[in-house]
Symmetry: C7
Subunit: 96 residues, 7 copies
């Protein structure tokens, strides 16, 4: 099954592990929300600007990205958890 | 009866089954809202942009789509439940 | 008396019956708000776009339409109840 | 004294009587807010559009109009109660 | 001291007396907020439109105006109370 | 150290004294918030309009200005308290 | 690892020390929120304007900047704490 995000939405596969203690309990680092890392799987064709033209997205499939902890909606694609979010929820692209 | 959605609205027929236990009780998977699958039955002629021109919709009748759990308004067409929502409530198009 | 709705407003006559039990008590079908059916009696000359031009409405007098349960303001025209609402409150046009 | 409403504002004289019982107590018809009838006394020169041009109003002095129950601000002109409101608070023009 | 309001702001000198009873207690007329009368003392050079051009104000120094009871910020100019408000807070110009 | 405000922000040095009684207790004049006086120290290069062009600010360094009591963020420049605010928080320019 | 902020976002490294007493307890100076100092590490390619064109950012890598205390999201880059924020959260550029 192929998922084609609509307009300015992107499909992301989370890659960062949750931080757990040895005892298995999740410990939040600080009160501030931390960004999460993922990889772009699919992107929409872009948002429609005020003049009616479509503006292509900046991210592309394969990009490693950072996004806020509570960004997006969970969706299962071929049995695996993904996140569907708007490009504006992406904070940054990561390069090695 | 033919339903013609207005402007940027679309008519959707939900296809995903609700998740119930054997005992018949609905069990939410996580606290996060999960998208639901459906098929586009009819689409509006598009939203009117700031310059007064109509921007056609991206989805078309027959498309398999994902949308948020609480998107849209229920409507009965020829005895069957459908959903009327704005195209912006559609998260993605699904292809095999 | 003739009612001429202003700009993007329309005058609608509700046609759907309220659902009552034999005992006369109204029973809501589900928690979700259901659309109501009506007929367009009169339409405004359209909303003024950002460039100062008037965009004509999509619906026209005589159209059978669906709208949300709480849309519009009640108004009595020649002793009969009507609803005055914005075109954006109209969900769809119905055709046979 | 002449009152010249500013921009998209209009001066209205209410004409509809309040509904009172014989015992003098006001009885609201339904929970829904009902529109009130009035006559346009004076109109502003129009709202300034995004391109900086002034868009003239649709209503004109002498028009019989409908507006929401809580629209506008009360103002006394030569000892008589009037209402000052924005044109967007006007629901419809009435013709005989 | 000369006060030059910025952009779409105006400087107003209130002229209407507060309504007090003989016993000195203020009695509001109705629950609805009543407009107050004043005179324009100085006006700004206008708001900057979306296209970057400045749109001159409609009111000018010397105009008698009406404004809402709670409009503006009090400011003392040469020992006298004035009000600084946006032109949009002005309801109407008064002429004799 | 030189502080260069970003876009439509300005750096202001407050000049009005706080009103205190002889006993040292601050007594608010009325419930209404009173504007405060200051001098513009530095200005940004202007806000970017919808067409992507930068609109220069109206105030300039050296201007005596009025602003609301709670406007801006306190910032220490070379040991002295200043305020960083948006130009829109400035109510008026004062001239002698 | 290189972090490339998206659109109008910037990556900042905080440089100002937290104010602590000798006893190690943090003492807020006033109730008002104080700006914090940092250095720009990386900037996005700019926000997309209403006409669909990208507007480059004003700040550039290496700039010393001021921002509000609660601006941005914390992010660890090569083991060190950084902040990811929108350019609009930047109050000013600092020069010596």
């Amino acid at each position: 099954m192929k998922v084609i995000p609509l307009n300015d939405r992107v499909l992301v596969k989370r890659t960062e592990e949750l931080q757990v203690t040895k005892g298995g309990i999740y410990i939040p680092d600080t009160a501030k929300e931390k960004p999460i890392e993922g990889r772009i799987i699919a992107v929409g064709s872009g948002k429609i600007a005020d003049n009616g033209e479509r503006v292509p997205l900046t991210v592309k499939p394969g990009d490693r990205v950072l996004f806020g902890k509570y960004a997006g909606t969970e969706i299962k694609v071929e049995g695996e958890e993904h996140l569907m979010m708007r490009e504006d929820d992406i904070l940054a692209i990561l390069e090695d």
